[in-house]
């Protein structure tokens, strides 16, 4: 899923400072699952904003909505009926959601309430970790199912650098050395001998973000 976290409230308050009527839109997709942008966060943020405004003696009207997803036009259109009544849309979806809001409601500013962080998963309650950078050209079959691009701080493709120490990365002793993980996994799979010595050729990054904004078209589905 896309993992995001709340922006500092001060930043949000500054963003909406000139408004007194805003629409706060949550998303039931990834950001709900990572506890950043679901209905609960909508309620919490709305209340926090109103609380802050009250301390300044200024009222603010906030309408609270949570959409099924903010990355599908049909859902985004669900606020069409009343979006125009508000001076700004504060979206606590991922960056996709915020942009979809902006694209659909061109006359109203769409503001981000979250910092979209990465694609990852939950390690345990309240802990999420990055797993994929969306390079568009997956090599996981070569690396024991552990992504060197995401899990190695330097995205090395041919083994660990000299900074790997006790299974940890030189960047942060809390971070596992991705290559250590890959090596262990390859060994467990009995693929170490065959895989490790093979020099992985220079990667084609054009399928990645480096190739410019990406788009997928399924012609068979297209109408």
């Amino acid at each position: 899923m896309i993992v995001a976290q709340a922006k500092p409230i001060e930043e949000i308050l500054e963003m909406i400072d000139k408004y007194d009527k805003i629409l706060l839109v949550g998303c039931k997709g990834c950001v709900a699952v990572c506890a950043a942008g679901g209905e609960k966060e909508v309620q919490f943020l709305a209340s926090a904003i109103r609380t802050a405004r009250k301390t300044q003696g200024r009222e603010i009207e906030i309408r609270e909505v949570t959409l099924e997803r903010q990355c599908d036009p049909e859902y985004v259109e669900q606020i069409r009926g009343f979006a125009g009544d508000y001076q700004a849309i504060l979206s606590i979806a991922c960056g996709v959601g915020v942009q979809f809001m902006a694209e659909h409601y061109r006359e109203i500013p769409a503001l981000p309430g979250l910092n979209t962080s990465f694609m990852g998963g939950a390690l345990e309650q309240g802990v999420w970790s990055e797993r994929c950078q969306g390079c568009g050209n997956c090599v996981l079959h070569l690396t024991g199912g552990i992504c060197p691009i995401t899990r190695c701080s330097k995205s090395l493709l041919n083994g660990p650098c000299g900074g790997s120490s006790n299974g940890k990365c030189e960047v942060d002793p809390e971070v596992d050395c991705g290559w250590q993980l890959i090596i262990e996994r390859l060994k467990a799979l009995g693929e170490f001998e065959s895989r490790f010595m093979e020099i992985v050729p220079i990667k084609d990054w054009s399928t990645s973000r480096d190739g410019g904004p990406r788009k997928i078209v399924r012609e068979d589905m297209r109408q």
């Binding site: 330097k154 090395l156 083994g159 660990p160 650098c161 000299g162 790997s164 030189e170 010595m197 220079i202």
Partner: protein, 307 residues
Amino acid sequence: MKTESRLEKVLEKGEFAVTSECGPPRGADPDLIRKKGELLKGVVDAVNVTDCQTSVVRMSSLSCCLILKEMGFDPIVQMVTRDRNRIAIQSDILGAAALGINNILCLSGDHQRFGDHPQAKNVYDIDSIQLIMTVKQMRDEGKFLSGEELTKVPRLFIGAAANPFADPFEIRALRLAKKVAAGAQFIQTQCIYNLKRFEEWMHRVVDMGLHEKVCILAGVTPMKSVGMARYMKNMVPGMDVPDEIIERLKGVPKEKQGEEGIKICIETIQRLREMEGVRGVHIMAIEWEEKVREIAEGAGLLPRPRI
């Protein structure tokens, strides 16, 4: 392909090679690098110039190499893949060769997290092994990475780094093999304090026959003080400083610790020289270049052979 590299020639002759390094200045003053160069005159066969080491911004390696070249050195340009994509890298390789630089050391580079610009975006378009392949392909096949032909090949003696002390230990020799397979001709290792561990690594290297395919220069760094030893032990990832070293430094008064460090360094070089497969020594006297001569002298490495 043979190059004009003095280092390559020294090694070819079967001499025990000596290299050292110069850290470029944090400013545009060329005299600072010249001053360092003076200290190494007649002491080394080649001199490395680091490439924004520890991700701290300094004068570019290539520019400093040129200054040292003018002073009569055979510089080794260090190149990290952190800051350049394959376009810039190939362009710099061509430039280096054109300017008469004969050696290149291919590195991935320290992560910027602990440098002076931790906010920077890193590149890592290719890794160090792929960089070795790149240089080799340009030199030996006369082709860019794209496969297109280039007009005049860059004749560079290709080096790489190895850290025998990083984890996981068991792949360290294998990784060296990968670098050799990619085209590395000389190797400069991480500084060695734990001789036992290094010996172990060397055994594996010899067992695999790698020492015959590549020239291994063992890295050494003199300790200035017990504080430095502790710092290296605890703070530098992939550094293995045994407690004996610390104990030994602790055993002498503070003002004598530097002297003791140099003594240790010399002893280390003498031990390394005995080891099968060790073809030279790379003396990294960090911000202490004035001591390189003393160390080389002490280790009986002077004078350097004439080529």
